[in-house]
Amino acid sequence: MSKWKIASSYIIGQGHIQKDIPCQDRTFKLVNKSSKGNFYGLSLADGAGSCKHSDIGAEHITKKILHFLNSKFLYISKKKNPSNYILRFIEKELKSLSHKRNIIFKDLSSTLLFIAIKDNKFIIGHIGDGVIGVLDKNSNLKTLSKPMNGEFSNSTFFTTSTYYKHRLRIIKGSIKESIGFILMSDGTEESLYDKQKESLIDSNKIIINWLNKNSETKVEEGLYHNLEQIISKQTSDDCSIGIMKRC
């Protein structure tokens, strides 16, 4: 059974600092080693700009979705179309948080991207903008899930967009030749995703392969520095990134 290394980071954007808005990007990772098979999860969320508690929504849902996938992995991986099942969980979680913290449901809006791996199977989910990519053993990097935007740049789908029933894109499959995955928010997308070609640029391979010879802790520190000093210079938005590498 394969083992995976995971690293992620996020940083506040200049636009948020100027407007006195908190960082609304969040990432989370979860590893659960058990005799029934190891679970590896990585999630990322970008809170909606105008929602004043979207940072809380993003933080909550990144954690909850991975715990949910960990406990329901087998069921979801076998279910023919699990989108509605997962969406119901997301809505229930955010409504419960809204009630508990006395926050308006819509104020918890965020995008959501996740990868869960167990027993050489993966489940990938995507709501809203941001990109998910996969690296195979022949060093081919492919875009698995493109940004799900509305027509206009400042419009996208969120976890709370209950009106849009098909806002969650789910991809399931076997790991086979895949050796790495990458998730990024739209802020990072500006630097690492070629919008005209709809493809991830080669620098993403370097980032994923960084986990080959370095500890997760060191790579996380490095991701933060690269977000801070290079990637965030190309956008006013928050930036976040998450990577997984088979080892």
């Binding site: 700009g49 809006s109 903008d129 400042n154 620098s203 370097i206 290079i230 006013s236």
Partner: protein, 229 residues
């Protein structure tokens, strides 16, 4: 310290095109605008262009075009990089073909959006500014229907602007996509600069917006503009 943690350089990144905000000024240059109004309008437009050019973000994001209507309708300035654009002179004469003017403005906005899509350029919801001092002399129903359809689907923002007291407020309200079908009113030609200052600040805010952000434009009343509800 963190030098050994840097694996990316600026040149390793992709340079995606700046997200564009297409704005079309649809201007009444009929006979009633002759004299001081048309001169002041041109100065106002000139001011608007300069204001956009002086904004570090808006200058790379906002793209401008101008459609004028009189007896005929003409695109006197098509979308292009603002640094390459020169504002043409405005001459007032003839009738007020407002309906045809708005339809031409819609056409060029639609064409620009298609060009963005084909080149993988992201864009914001287009803006149209409709300015008139009078009553339309052609049929406006088709243009109003198109604008309302786009407005209802949040695909267009149209600001109707009445110049002075003789503009047809009721028809401008039908074109409006603003809250409560509001119409902005510039009291007289000397206030054009204030209007364009408000407009430049508003488009600059959109050009810096992020997904999910609610844009609150500056209050028009702070710019000597009246709001007709």
């Amino acid at each position: 310290m963190a030098q050994n943690l840097m694996i990316l350089r600026q040149q390793d990144l992709v340079s995606n095109p700046t997200t564009r905000l297409p704005v079309c000024l649809c201007l009444d240059v009929s006979g009633s605008m002759h004299g001081k109004p048309i001169e002041e309008l041109r100065k106002g437009v000139q001011y608007f262009f300069e204001a956009i050019k002086s904004d570090e973000i808006a200058r790379y994001s906002v793209e401008l075009s101008i459609v004028v209507f009189q007896s005929n309708v003409t695109t006197i300035l098509d979308f292009a990089n603002i640094d390459r654009q020169r504002i043409p002179s405005l001459t007032a004469s003839g009738l007020t073909s407002m309906g045809a003017g708005v339809e031409l403005a819609l056409d060029i906005l639609e064409k620009r959006k298609s060009e963005y899509s084909a080149k993988g350029v992201d864009y914001y919801q287009p803006w149209m500014v409709l300015m008139t001092d009078g009553y339309p002399t052609d049929n406006t129903s088709n243009a109003i229907n198109k604008v309302n359809r786009l407005g209802n689907n949040k695909k267009l923002t149209l600001f109707p602007v009445a110049i002075g007291n003789s503009a047809d407020i009721s028809i401008l309200k039908e074109f409006s996509t603003m809250n409560q079908n509001a119409v902005l009113k510039v009291k007289s030609a000397q206030y054009f600069k204030d209007f364009f200052e408000w407009l430049s600040q508003s488009v600059a805010m959109v050009s810096q917006s992020i997904p999910g952000e609610k844009i609150t434009a500056p209050n028009p009343r702070d710019f000597n503009l009246e709001i007709e509800l």
